[in-house]
Symmetry: C2
């Protein structure tokens, strides 16, 4: 656009620090109908992003030190004055052109629901803008989700990739609860540890554990293999007794937990999440094929067997820092198989769950 | 199975170190028709895995120190004698039951093509067995691919997950070549660096770079945004000149490369791969939405625009160690969108490419 013959009646704003000040008379045209800027005594104050967008739309001009700035000049000036200016501009432009009204907010933007208007409707989303190469600590995300939740907003992360395409993610804390009954405790089923998996040799016990409670995977028609994590859990409940094929005696819970933890450094972290999910009545199986620790079912009808798991759950530690490329891969894969992507971590005696899903704005 | 009333004429083998020795008279039944074991002077020697499978099938019994071992006893003994015994047994059983003949090999197994027979047909695959929690160095994989290729075999990785499900991956070294023409060098198009992206302000140049050569993404109708990596490449070819909005002068190649590298530690590694792919006539765009560094097109018809990219390419360094969970996620996502997953790394002045794809055996 940027027509050479700009009509004379386009209002001109003055660049002043991190804002552009327009005459108060512009309020009717820019704020009352389109909700740009913040009406003040004697002026309408635009953010640099709003100003750049309105220059692009030929609705205002901007002067600085007595000179008119063209779009290029204003963008270069703004980029020097405000961190992440270009990516925030890209997201602002995208949301505005999708029909949303946007105000500056504690994350980056407050966004009104479709059809909602500043001053008339509450805003709905807190939007935080990141570029694909910015790592983000789990705790920062959690803090932002809580900040948004405190004022009843949803947190949305807008990730701008190298190509300036935007992916929006809805982020929320969630709880996990299933409807499965528990296996009878103290069953004392005999099982053997072989390196990194455990085998139940008895056909009836195998059937009970697998068909009724969805533990393990049949080795053949009469024997069941349990994963280490399943075996530790079942031993904790005294449902199985574990023999070690090397020492030929039953292992105590402490011995077996230590053996298991030695196989894999992440074991205790995964175990805590597995235990919490199983205790909450969910069926938890490996998520290897989906590149996550677990796939999780709310309920499995034993007569039908495992069909569609609702969640992919990945255990992380509280100090985890998300690489956005890995996050993108995890969420995209989960959503492509119609599952929710959930990250889980231990805090004190509790496990917290953060759900991330791609969203169409 | 394991019928209590085992018929008396089932041959009995003797456990002897890492093998089970059967009388030579078993050769006709076990080797000549089914290709189990290795015929020796006076005996047929089975691997522990073959022996366990044949005990499971009630085709042999096995004795050790004068006592018959049942399946459980043999598996426990074998697990003490051979590393990774259970997972290798799981893969052997799976392949056997899919109708493949299998022999021990330098990786773990040599597998014959469907319908192929030991001694009559050459084997086709080298199969290497891993559990989902075993990390594998890139260089180990490359070495195995080369070992297999030297005797004209394909390398297959069989990953056994916690639940004892198997995922097979075909692994091969590949080359990357495209059919795109090059942009005219020394065009000297003016562009500006703003933080971590570069903007071309001129409409005609933007059109040329984007429509003809698929660089960048339009910021609006007349301006183009280039990613840092695109900008470094175009500057190297003297196609663009880069001004820094902060210092208000043109940057040298060294200055701009250093600025770019400072934005992201992985930048030089990614840049080397990007340059190699573009120089090979391919179109290279960000793979963020697929959780990888690049999506790559062999050819894009400018009149049609970008449609389906054939490859996802992820840059790693030569010392990279694959976490199989991450590998699973990358390959699964790539295959779900009908793309090849390729890992790329620099070695000397060259870039090598390793392609991994899920395969149905």
């Amino acid at each position: 656009m940027n027509h050479k013959d700009t009509p004379k009646d386009i209002p001109n704003g003055i660049l002043d620090g991190q804002m552009v000040k327009l005459d108060a008379s512009t309020r009717e045209n820019l704020y009352d109908t389109s909700y740009y800027g913040r009406p003040m005594d004697g002026s309408l104050d635009l953010t640099l992003i709003e100003a750049a967008y309105l220059v692009y739309k030929d609705r205002i001009t901007v002067s600085h030190e007595g000179r008119k700035l063209d779009f290029e000049g204003l963008v270069c000036e703004s980029s020097r004055r405000e961190g992440n200016f270009e990516v925030k501009y890209i997201v602002f432009k995208d949301l505005r052109e999708r029909g949303y009204f946007i105000k500056p907010g504690v994350t980056d933007f407050r966004v009104y629901p479709r059809g909602g208007k500043p001053g008339k409707t509450p805003s709905r989303y807190f939007v935080h803008v990141l570029t694909e190469r910015q790592p983000i600590p789990l705790m920062d995300l959690v803090h932002q989700v809580q900040t948004a939740a405190n004022v009843r907003k949803d947190l949305v992360i807008a990730v701008v990739d190298e190509e300036s395409d935007i992916t929006y993610y809805e982020v929320k804390l969630t709880s996990m609860k299933g409807d499965m009954g528990k296996a009878a405790e103290d069953a004392g089923i005999r099982a053997t540890l072989l390196e990194d998996r455990v085998i139940v040799w008895d056909a009836l016990s195998s059937e009970l554990l697998h068909t009724q409670h969805l533990y393990g995977k049949p080795l053949d028609e009469s024997r069941l293999q349990l994963s280490l994590i399943e075996a530790v859990y079942l031993q904790e409940k005294n449902i199985i007794l574990i023999e070690d094929s090397r020492v030929e005696r039953t292992l105590t819970q402490t011995e077996f937990s230590e053996t298991s933890a030695a196989v894999e450094t992440e074991f205790p972290m995964k175990m805590a999440v597995y235990r919490h999910l199983r205790d909450a009545g969910m069926v938890v199986k490996t998520g290897y094929k989906f590149g996550t620790h677990f796939r999780v079912y709310k309920k499995v009808d034993p007569s039908v067997g495992m069909r569609h798991s609702e969640f992919l759950v990945h255990a992380v530690d509280g100090g985890h820092v998300f690489n956005l490329l890995h996050l993108s891969r995890a969420v995209r894969l989960a959503n492509s198989v119609r599952k929710q992507m959930v990250f889980a971590w231990q805090t004190g005696d509790d496990i917290l769950y953060l759900e991330l899903g791609r969203m169409k704005m």
